[in-house]
Symmetry: C2
Subunit: 346 residues, 2 copies
C-alpha cells in the first residue's frame, strides 16, 4: 500500500555506518555493540528526519510480538462499552500496547469474523466482551492457546481468565434496598438472554423477593427481546395493571431505563411517589432527570484496568495460572428510591 518504505540501508548510507549498526540502534539493542551514544543519537535523528517506519511484521516475526491488543466489545454504540474501551486503551498504552477495537454488535457471526481478522493481523492477545452464543469461539481460543481475558461477561462453564461484576449480588442488593425502603412490589425489566450476567441479575432480584417472603406474580418480571419502546410499554402496562401493582422497578441496563423512563413520563407517573426506580449502569440522563435516579455503579475503571493487567501478565508469563475476578458493584442511592419508611416516621 502506498510507496515503499525507507530501508535501513538508506539510513546507513546517510549516517555513513553499516546497515547492521542501524538495525541494532533502531531496535534498541545498541548496548550489544561498541557504538557511542553520539552515533546512536545521529542514527535515530536521521531515521526520524527520513520518517522511517519500522517494518512491524518483520520485527514481530523476530520478537514474536506486535504489542497490539485486540479488543472486541459487544456494542460500540453502548456508552458503557465505549467508556470501557477508552479505559482499556489508556491502560494498555501505559504498558506499551496499542489497542485495536472491533464491535461485534451482539452478533456471534460478526464476533467470529473479528476474531479471525485480528488473529490474521497478529494481535498478541485479546480482551473480549462476549456476545450471546460465542462459547465455541472462546473454546477455540483456549484450544489454540491464544492469550485472552473476558471482560464484563463470562461463561462460567469455560476455564478462562475473566473480570466481571458480581451481578447476582448487585441485583440482590438493589431489590433489598427497595424492599427495605418500603417498596414491596418490585418489578424487574431485563433482556431475554442466554448470557450469564443477565441470568444472574434476574436471580439476584428474585432472591431479594424470596428473602422477604414476597411472592411475585409473573407480570413483575419482564424479559424483552429487544429494547423497543413498544415491548417496554406493554410490559410496564401489565405491571401496573397487575392485581399486585408494582410500586418500584429495577432496570437491568441503563438503556432499558431510558426507554422505561420515557414511558413513565408519558404516563404522567411521578418518581418515586408512584414508582421508585433503580437501574444498573451510570448515565448522564440519570443525573439530569428531575428526580435523580438511583443506580448500581459498575466499577468501569477497575474492570478495564484489571483486564489489561491480567492480559499483559499473561503475555509476559504465559505459564501463569488463571485469574478470575468478580468485582462488587455498589448502589448509589438517590431520590428515585427515597425510603417511604422514613417518610412515615418523620
Amino acid at each position: 500500500m502506498g510507496k515503499k518504505n525507507l530501508s535501513l540501508k538508506d539510513i546507513a548510507e546517510k549516517a555513513q555506518v553499516s546497515t547492521a549498526l542501524v538495525s541494532y540502534v533502531l531496535n534498541g539493542r545498541e548496548k550489544e555493540t561498541r557504538v557511542g551514544q553520539e552515533i546512536a543519537e545521529k542514527i535515530r535523528q536521521i531515521a526520524k528526519e527520513l520518517n522511517y517506519q519500522p517494518n512491524y511484521l518483520a520485527k514481530s516475526l523476530r520478537s514474536g510480538k506486535t504489542f497490539t491488543i485486540g479488543l472486541i466489545i459487544a456494542d460500540i454504540s453502548n456508552p458503557f462499552f465505549a467508556n470501557i474501551a477508552r479505559i482499556v486503551e489508556d491502560e494498555a498504552k501505559k504498558s506499551g500496547y496499542t489497542v485495536i477495537i472491533g464491535s461485534s454488535d451482539e452478533n456471534a457471526g460478526k464476533s467470529r469474523d473479528l476474531i479471525d481478522v485480528f488473529i490474521n493481523r497478529q494481535v498478541d492477545g485479546f480482551i473480549i466482551v462476549s456476545s450471546e452464543d460465542t462459547e465455541d469461539q472462546v473454546q477455540n481460543l483456549l484450544d489454540k492457546n491464544i492469550p485472552f481475558v473476558l471482560l464484563d461477561r463470562h461463561f462460567p462453564a469455560l476455564p478462562t481468565d475473566f473480570v466481571s461484576l458480581n451481578n447476582y449480588k448487585a441485583a440482590y442488593e438493589a431489590g433489598n434496598h427497595l424492599i427495605e425502603g418500603g417498596y414491596t412490589n418490585v418489578g424487574f425489566i431485563g433482556y431475554k438472554s442466554r448470557l450469564f450476567h443477565m441470568k444472574e441479575r434476574i436471580r439476584g432480584y428474585q432472591e431479594a423477593l424470596h428473602k422477604h417472603r414476597i411472592t411475585a406474580p409473573p407480570a413483575w418480571l419482564l424479559e424483552v427481546e429487544f429494547n423497543t419502546l413498544e415491548e417496554i410499554r406493554t410490559g410496564i402496562d401489565k405491571m401496573l395493571d397487575a392485581r399486585h401493582r408494582v410500586n418500584a422497578l429495577i432496570f437491568a441496563t441503563y438503556r432499558l431505563a431510558i426507554s422505561g423512563l420515557k414511558y413513565i413520563n408519558e404516563l404522567g407517573l411521578r418518581v418515586p411517589d408512584d414508582l421508585a426506580i433503580v437501574s444498573f449502569g451510570q448515565a448522564e440522563a440519570f443525573d439530569l432527570y428531575y428526580c435523580p435516579i438511583t443506580y448500581i455503579h459498575q466499577p468501569m475503571d477497575d474492570l478495564g484496568k484489571t483486564a489489561v493487567e491480567i492480559l499483559v501478565r499473561k503475555l509476559q508469563k504465559p505459564e501463569l495460572i488463571r485469574t478470575q475476578v468478580l468485582m462488587e458493584a455498589r448502589i448509589v442511592a438517590r431520590d428515585s428510591s427515597r425510603s417511604r419508611i422514613t417518610d412515615v416516621r418523620s
Copy 2:
C-alpha cells in the same frame, strides 16, 4: 501465535484430491476447473470440519486487498463518535469490509501511532475523524497515496475527500432561531480549538448576532480548554453577571451542554424562562430533561454511510476525483427555546 494453521495439504489428503484443487475451491474459483459440485462441496465440508482458517496475508498479497477499513475516531468515549463508528461498521459490512477501530482520544501522537499500526496491519484504507494538529499526518497519507476519507472534521486547506457538517450554517441558524424567538442576549460555549468545525460554529453564532445588529460583550463567548465543571461554572457566572446578562445559551457540543445544564440546575435557573438553551448534538439526557432541550440534529447516519460509500468507491476506482460533502444539520425546536414573542401575542 498459537498452533500452526491447517494447510491446504491436510485438507487435500483427507479429501483425496490435489492441493491445487482444494485451493481453487476454497478461493471460490472452482468454475475454472472441471471439478463437480459434489467434490467441491465435500472439500468445503472438510475444511469446515477441520476448522480451516484461510491465510489472509497470502490471500491479500495475491489480491492486494485485505477488505479491512481502519476507522480512527477522535474519542471512543464520546457517544457521537461511538454511534458513528457503529454506522460505519454496519455500512462497511454491506460491501464486505471489516472495520477495525482505533481511538486517538483527541491526541495527535496517539493518532500517528494508530495510523502506523493500521498501515502495518495492511488496511485497505482509512476513515478518520481527525484530532487537532494532525494536518501533517493527513498530508502524509495524501503523499503516500493511501486511500482515506475524513469524517465529521476536515482541514479546508488540504485537498482530501471528506464528509462534514455545514457547521457555520448550523450555528448561524441556532443563533437566528433564538433571536427571532425573542432571546436577544445569546451566549455561546465552545472549545478553544484550532479545529475548523469549532471555528465555524463560533463564526456562525457571531454572524447571527451581527445580522440582527446585536453587539456581544466578550463575556458572551466562552471557549473552554477542557470540559471541566469549574471552567463552565466560571464562564456562566460571567455571562450572568455581565451588564448585558445573557438570556439564552448555545452549547457547541452535547457534552458541554450536559455540564452546563448541571450548573444551571444548581443555580436554580428555569429553562427557558431564565435561560433558553440550544445545543449541538442529540442526547438521551435532552429528551428526559424536565424541559426537553432544542438541539441541532447532526445527520449521523448520512455522515457515516456517505464516508463508507466514498471510501469503497475510491478503493474500487482509485483514479476517481475527490468527493467533498458538506451536509446540512437541522434544528429540532423544543421547549428549551420556546418563543417569547408568541407568549406576548397570546
